[in-house]
C-alpha cells in the first residue's frame, strides 16, 4: 500500500518538475527543477528495487548537473543582487520544496523497507532477476554478455573527447604568449626553475 502511494507521489512530482523545467523563465530555476526531477526519478528506481541505478542517478546526474549548473551561472549574465532581492519572497516556496523532499525521503525509505513495488505481472521474454544484489548482477552481465557494447561505449567517449578538442583547441603560434612546448616543459628541472636567495635584512632582492 505504502509503495503504491509513494509511486504516485514520485511519478507526479517527476512530471510536475519536468513541466516546470521547461516553463521556468530563469535558467537557474530550470536546473533546480531538473535536479528535483532527478531526485524523484531516483525515488522511483528505489521503489522498483534498483537501488544501484537510483544511487547512480543521484551521484552522476545530480552531481554532474550541479556542476553544469555552476557553469551556467558563471557564463550567463545574471544579476545576483536582483536574485537575492527575491530571497524573502521565495523563502516559503523554498521551505515547501524542502519539506516535500524530506517527506519523500521518509516515505521512500518506508516504502523500500516494505518491499519492492509490484505494478503488474512480468510479461514477455525478460528473464527474472537472479537473487543477487544490483551491483553483482550488473557487473556479471556488463563484463561478459555486454562486453562488446561496453567497449564500444568507451569508443563513443573517446570520439566525444576528440571532438571537443578538435573544435575548441587552438594552438598558439611559436613564440606567441600561450604557446605550449611540451618537450620544453618536460625538460625543466627544479635546479633551473627555482633559485635560492638569502636577502639581507632591510634590503630587497633584484629580480
Amino acid at each position: 500500500m505504502i509503495q503504491t502511494f509513494a509511486f504516485y507521489l514520485f511519478a507526479l512530482l517527476v512530471i510536475a518538475s519536468g513541466v516546470f523545467t521547461i516553463t521556468a523563465r530563469n535558467p537557474v530555476h530550470s536546473v533546480l527543477w531538473l535536479i528535483m526531477a532527478f531526485f524523484n526519478a531516483a525515488g522511483l528506481m528505489v521503489l522498483v528495487g534498483a537501488e544501484f541505478i537510483a544511487m547512480l542517478l543521484v551521484i552522476v546526474y545530480v552531481g554532474a548537473v550541479a556542476v553544469l549548473f555552476l557553469f551556467v551561472v558563471m557564463m550567463l549574465d545574471i544579476d545576483f543582487a536582483e536574485m537575492r532581492a527575491g530571497f524573502i519572497r521565495n523563502f516559503p516556496l523554498g521551505i515547501a520544496i524542502a519539506m516535500v523532499l524530506l517527506a519523500e525521503l521518509v516515505l521512500g525509505i518506508g516504502a523500500y523497507q516494505a518491499g519492492a513495488l509490484e505494478l503488474g505481472v512480468p510479461d514477455g521474454s525478460a528473464a527474472p532477476l537472479a537473487d543477487a544484489s544490483n551491483i553483482t548482477s550488473i557487473g556479471a552481465l556488463l563484463y561478459s554478455k555486454y562486453i562488446f557494447l561496453f567497449e564500444t561505449a568507451g569508443i563513443i567517449l573517446l570520439v566525444a573527447m576528440i571532438g571537443a578538442i578538435v573544435l575548441t583547441h587552438r594552438e598558439s603560434p611559436e613564440g606567441a604568449r600561450g604557446h605550449q612546448d611540451i618537450g620544453k616543459q618536460n625538460r625543466r628541472r627544479p635546479e633551473e626553475a627555482t633559485e635560492m636567495k638569502n636577502p639581507e635584512i632591510g634590503k630587497g632582492i633584484e629580480l
Partner: protein
Amino acid sequence: MGYLNSFYLSGPEVELSVAGLILLIVAAFAGQKSAKTVTALAVLALLGAAAFTVNLFTNSAFELGGDVWSGLYRMDAFGSFAKILIYIATIGCLIVAPKFFDAKGAYRPEYPVLMLFGAVGMGLMVSAIDLMTLYIGLELSSLSSYVLASYSRNDGRSAEAGLKYFVLGALASGILLYGMSLVYGFTGSTSYLGIRAALGDGLSTGALFGVVFVLAGLAFKIAAVPFHMWTPDVYEGAPTPVTAFFATAPKVAAVAITMRIALDPFGGNAAAWQQIIIFAALASIVVGALGAIGQQNLKRLLAYSSINNIGFILIGLAVATAAGAGAMLTYLAIYVVMSLGSFVALMMLKDSGGNQLETFGDISGLSSTRPVLAWCLLAIMFSLAGIPPLLGFYGKFVIFQAAVEADMVILAAVGIAASVIGAFYYIKFVKVMFFDEPADVVVADQSKARWIVLALSALIISPLGYLLTPGLDWVTERAASALFFVV
C-alpha cells in the same frame, strides 16, 4: 561460440577501431604534418575492412547470419553488402578531402580518425540485431558526424550546421530511444528475435506507439519528410567533403537499419508500418522535388535531391517484399555513386581567388570554360533525374518494378509523376551551364584523387554501367534474402 569467432565475424569493426586508435596516437605524436600520412593509412584500413567484408560476404557459411557477441551482432550478407558500400563511400569522401581543407590550412589528422570511428559506428548499426547495439552504433556515427559538420570552425556557417545537426540529432535520438523503451516495455526484449516473437502478428496500442516512435527517429536519420528540415541547412553549412560524406555513407547505414528493423523485428506486422512508410516515401518525393525548384545554392539543391531520392528508396520498403528490399539496395548503391560524383564535381568549382563556388550563377556557361566538368555534372544530374540511358534510370526502374509486382500500382504511378517534377531542376543545369554567359571558374590545380573519383562515378553511371547490373542484381538479391531469413 567463443570470443575468437566473435572477433572474426566482427572483424571489420575490430580492425577499424584498432586502426583508429593507432592513428590517433600517430596523430598525437607526429602532429599537424602527419595529416596526409594518417589519411593514407586510414584509406588503407578502410580498404582492408572492405576486402575482409567481401571475403565474409562470399563465404556461404555465414550468408544467412552468424550471430556473435551473445546475440548482439549478426554478420550476414545484408550487413556485409551495406558495409562494403559504407566503406567505399567513406574512402571516396576521404581521398578528396585534404585538398579542400588545405586551401584554408585547416586539414588535421583528426579528420580521417573521426571518419574511421564514424565508419565503425555505421558498421555496428547495419550489423545490429539488438536495439542496444543499434543505438550505440548510431550514437558513435552521429557523434563523429556532428564534429565533422562543424569542422571548419572559423566558418560561421559550418559552426551553425554543426549545432543544428547536433540539437536536432539529439532530439531524434531521444525520440528513437523513447520508441525503443516502449518496444522493450511491451515485448520484454531488446533483441530483434525476441521482439519479433513477442509481438506476434498483432500490435497492442503501446507497442504500436513504440514502432511509430522508432520509425520517426529513423526517418530523421535518413532525412525523410516530415523529418527533413535539417538537411538543406546542414548540407549547405558543412564543408563540401563532409556534405558528400553525409549524403553517402551515413545515409546507406540509416536506410539499412530502417530496412532491417522494419522487416526483421517488426516484420510480422508489416501492415502496421506500411502506411507510415508510404506516406514518408510520397511526401519525400514531392517535397524534395518542389523544394529544389527555388534553390540557388547547389548544395541546398543537392540536399533536396537527396530527400527526393530517399522517397524513391522508401517505395522499395513500402512494398515489404524481398524484391523491394533488393531494389532498395540496388538503388542505394547507384545513389551513392551519383551523390559522390555530384559533390566531388561541386568541390572542383573554384574562382580565380581560390574561393569555393556553390551557386547557380557561378556555373553559368561552364560548358564553354570547362567542358569536361560540365559534361560530367550534366551526366550525373540526368542520372539523378533517372533519364534512360544513364544508370540512375535502372535504380528507379527496379524500384517501380517491385512496386508494380506487389500490386502497388498507385504508389508507383504517383512516384513516376513526381519524378517528372524533379526533372525540372535537373534540366535547369543544362540551361545554366550550356546557354548562359560564362562566369569566372577555375578548375586547374585539382588533386588527382578528385578526378579519379569523378571519372569513376561518371563511368559507372554512364550506359557502360549497365554491364555491372547482372552482378549488382546477384549481390543485392543475396543480401535481401538474408534479411528475409527468419530463424
